[in-house]
């Protein structure tokens, strides 16, 4: 496990323009030698297959440790996220400017609630 973790140093992001821009400004952006970026901007024109494709690509890349994904984008590919049980890369749902964060929708938090019941929260 530790062997292939060492290479995982990038943070990928799938989200709306503002979120991606902000995070890129912070310095997570990376474009490798094959011109593959570690970010995807989702706007009204982005199709669902594109999102799915890039999500699968990010999960398969060996140099990505964390995938950040806007929650409203995550909702579009919810079934994929629910099926995703790998430890690496970690998929993290983040709120976006237009869509406040809803813990009830988060795949991981749903599992937390399933394990401990609703009284935990």
């Amino acid at each position: 496990m530790s062997v292939y973790q060492k290479d995982r140093s990038l943070i990928a992001v799938i989200g709306d323009e503002d979120t991606v821009t902000g995070l890129l400004l912070a310095g997570i952006g990376h474009v490798d030698s094959k011109q593959k970026a570690n970010f995807l901007v989702v706007d009204s024109k982005t199709t669902l297959p594109t999102i799915e494709e890039s999500f699968i690509e990010f999960t398969r890349r060996k140099d990505i440790g964390i995938i950040l994904i806007n929650q409203h984008v995550a909702d579009d590919i919810r079934s994929m996220l629910d099926e995703y049980h790998q430890a690496f890369p970690t998929v993290l749902e983040i709120p976006s400017k237009d869509h406040p964060y809803d813990p009830a929708k988060d795949s991981i938090l749903k599992r937390v609630q399933k394990l401990f019941g609703d009284d935990q929260r």
Binding site: M1, S2, Q5, K6, R8, S9, L10, I11, E17, D18, T19, V20, T21, G22, L23, L24, L25, A26, G27, I28, G29, H30, V31, A37, N38, F39, V41, G65, I66, L68, H85, Q86, A87, F88, T90, L92, I94, P95, S96, K97, P100, Y101, P103, D106, I108, L109, R111, V112, L115, F116, Q120, R121
Partner: protein, 369 residues
Amino acid sequence: MKRFRDALEAQKAGKTLEEWEEKRREAKNESIQKEKKALGQAAKKAAKRAKKAFLETSQDGDEKLESPQALNSADIKSSLADENGMVIDSKEKLKKGIEKKAKKGNWMASKKKSPALVKGNVTADRLASSGARLNVFPTRMALTTLKNRLKGANTGHSLLKRKSEALTRRFREIVKKIDEAKRKMGKVMQVASFSYAEVKYSTGDISYQVRENAKIAQLKVKARQENVSGVQLPAFDLNVDGQNAFELTGLGRGGQQIQKCKETYQKAVEVLVQLASLQTAFVILDEVIKVTNRRVNAIEHVIIPKLENTIRFVQSELDEMDREEFFRLKKIQAKKKIRKDIEDAIREAAGLQPTLKNVPFKIFLSRFS
């Protein structure tokens, strides 16, 4: 009672013996060879009958009496020492045969031999095999091995249970932290979005410029290992290296806002990275706890009952063997006693002193021939 009967018979036999001896004295000329043959056959028959009686497990008085009678008649008819020797020889062979069987001590063999004992084993089987058990041969060594295995299983069970408890504790901690971090993340992202809005206001849309400028990541994560009771939990550390790719962004106006926004987002990323490592730990721990619990349950509900069942089976089987052994010894003792009684009866019938202990019957008789 039995002795009394024996004595009576011995008396009868005595009479016949005397008569027979008188006759013999009278008819000395008769060929001894023929007699010997006939007597030998009689002796053999008697021995066969005795064997039958020996093998019979029923304690019927008739059966028991048959063998002394048969032996008596045979012995009496053959007053010659040689004939007696033959009878004793055949009896001894029989005895030796029985003892050999006993010495084999083979569990399967003895099981096959007597139907009564097989029945006993079957009931024992039914008692022991109420659940699943290992396929072992019931020996003392197997019992020791099984007991050791049971001990090992118990130790393993307690260890695994403790591990599972430790992991669960850690798991709950992490869950609590995740909950907190998620809330914190919401706030941090809000602040970051707000600062980006400021940038937009002061600088205009920089998103295209920023995207084009992204070449090499400045913020990178490094995976670190954390050991929780034998489980390697990963944790991400954020490290900043390389140069700022956006130093010149917003040079015209709003540069300050942009740098501020960048810092806010960096802080946000820090929080996100923390959250991500917590989440990774959560996923891995979840998996490990499941596996551990499965193992604990397997040991508790499958392996230990199976071992206990097998131990019970082996023990019952060994007990059964002990009982068989005891019963057989008793049987041999009884047979030896019958033989001694017969010999005594013959001695009495021959008008000799009964039972000189420790003197073999053959030698004893040979003194008087």
